[in-house]
Amino acid sequence: MSLLLPDSGLLFWMVLIFAIVVFILAKFGFPVITRMLERRKEYIDNSLRLAKEADAKMGQMMEEQARMIAQAREEQNRILKEAAQARDSIVQKAREQAQDEARKILEEARVKIETEKESALREIRSQVAVLSVKVAEKVIRQNLSTDKAQMDLVSRMLDEVTAPKAGEKN
């Protein structure tokens, strides 16, 4: 039965020793350790949170980057298209201009040719007139080699002057 009865001497020492142990450990031992553990846990939690945030930010940046690349590509396409258009229009315009120019040149050429032709014709006509005068002179010279012929001519001419107007017109 003595097993089940607390012993006074041991009780005294147990209370004393345990009180000292609890005092020392509760003052200098466990609070230091648990506070550190707590702090480290907080620190780890914090770090994890930050890492997650950084990850999210990274993801956002990647997205942004992808978006920017897509945008740039679009821009590029647009510019290329515009350039092609510009080129096409320039070529078109140039062609039109060239055609205009060509037409104008042709026109001018035609006008020139026309005038040249005109002047040529005029010259031909005057030449023809001179030639006919010369031919007529020669013809007349031959015809008026006698006095009679001369007289006949004079009389015909006089007739002509006096002849009806119809004959004049011819």
Partner: protein, 368 residues
């Protein structure tokens, strides 16, 4: 199984006529020789029965000297200071003065049924009376050694945290060993059981856990300075349970007392429930006390019984003694491993239940 083993060894003790000179076998087998086994065996003559009962009680109970072992006829023991205040005033001397029933300054170790193993003096009428006895007994010394180990371990751990930046580097040395245990007890047991203001109680509860753990583990070590049955002594568990009892009942809130004296039950049930609740206030720490005491004591007894099989069967012939020695060693190894587990489990359970009781007493009524 425990009961079966004890019954087995006790019946063997009655049947056999084992005697001294067998501790060599135990030492060869690598099993710790229970200190009292040898001395008991030595004390008796060759023909005397192996007294397993006195072996068991000699080990489990406290004593004024620390008997380590016997080598041949020489017993190695540590004398411890006896400090008593008898009718003739304070006495302080080494326990070696009281060896073998010697009397010193009117004091001697009683062998009567009532005061067996305790220092007594004779009063005027010749009756044995116990003086005020605060001797440094085996348990007290073991308690001091274990407490010193505990304090050194924990302070070494705390020192690491003071000296190092715990945020920047992993713990090393003692801190690395103790940190996971402290964290487990603090976070999983104390924080979960006590509730939001656990920080106030955690130093005490952690101290209790490590105090019980160290004492349990040192109890398993078969030689000095281990081997004392500290946490298997009811005085120790009584003090621990008493402190938990005081903590539960003195730091509680109004709601706790209201639940005990005016519980939410129909009026006609109130007297019964109140009675049960008041009873419960005392049974909880009582259960704590008995659980730890009984578990550790039973563990020590079992290991001793298993080892004692060797001595009991020594005189039963070579075949039986040899085979039983093998059985004993195998069981001894098994029991030691089991005790390692029990040492942790009991410390854990004591801490957890203390935390749960504190937590229950601090529970606020839930607002519907």
């Amino acid at each position: 199984m425990v009961a079966a083993l004890i019954a087995l060894t006790l019946s063997l003790a009655l049947a056999s006529d084992a005697a001294a000179g067998t501790e060599d076998a135990a030492q060869d087998a690598g099993v710790p020789v229970p200190e009292t086994a040898a001395s008991e065996a030595e004390a008796g003559s060759e023909a005397e029965d192996f007294d397993i009962q006195s072996l068991l009680f000699g080990h489990i109970q406290d004593s004024y000297e620390w008997h380590i072992t016997d080598i041949g006829d020489k017993s190695i023991r540590i004398s411890l200071p006896v400090i008593v205040r008898s009718s003739t005033g304070w006495h302080c001397f080494m326990s070696s003065k009281l060896e073998d029933g010697a009397e010193y300054e009117g004091l001697f170790i009683s062998s009567s049924d009532r005061n067996e193993g305790k220092i007594v003096e004779l009063d005027a009428s010749g009756q044995e009376v116990r003086p005020l006895d605060i001797s440094i007994t085996k348990n007290v010394l073991a308690l001091m050694i274990n407490s010193a180990i505990l304090v050194i371990l924990i302070l070494a751990c705390a020192r690491w945290y003071r000296r190092h930046d715990a945020l920047g580097e992993a713990p090393s040395g003692v801190a690395a060993v103790l940190e996971p245990v402290i964290e487990m007890i603090n976070d999983d047991v104390i924080k979960d059981s006590v509730g939001p203001d656990y920080a106030k109680y955690s130093p005490y509860l952690l101290t209790v856990f490590f105090f019980i753990l160290i004492n349990n583990l040192m109890g398993i070590v078969p030689f000095f300075p281990g081997g004392a049955n500290v946490t298997g002594n009811i005085t120790i568990t009584f003090v621990l349970a008493l402190i938990t009892f005081l903590l539960v009942n003195l730091t509680t809130c109004r709601h706790y007392w209201k639940d005990i004296f005016w519980p939410d039950v129909p009026l006609w049930l109130k007297p019964i429930i109140v009675l049960i609740e008041i009873f419960g206030v005392f049974t909880k720490p009582f259960a704590l006390m008995i659980r730890l005491f009984a578990n550790i004591m039973a563990g020590h007894s079992l290991i001793l019984c298993v080892v004692a099989i060797i001595f009991i069967t020594a005189k039963m012939g070579a075949a039986i003694a040899g085979s039983m020695t093998v059985v004993s060693v195998v069981f001894g190894v098994f029991m030691d491993c089991l005790e390692l587990l029990v040492a942790f489990i009991q410390a854990y359970v004591f801490t957890m239940l203390s935390a749960v009781f504190i937590g229950l007493a601090r529970e606020r009524p839930e607002k519907a």
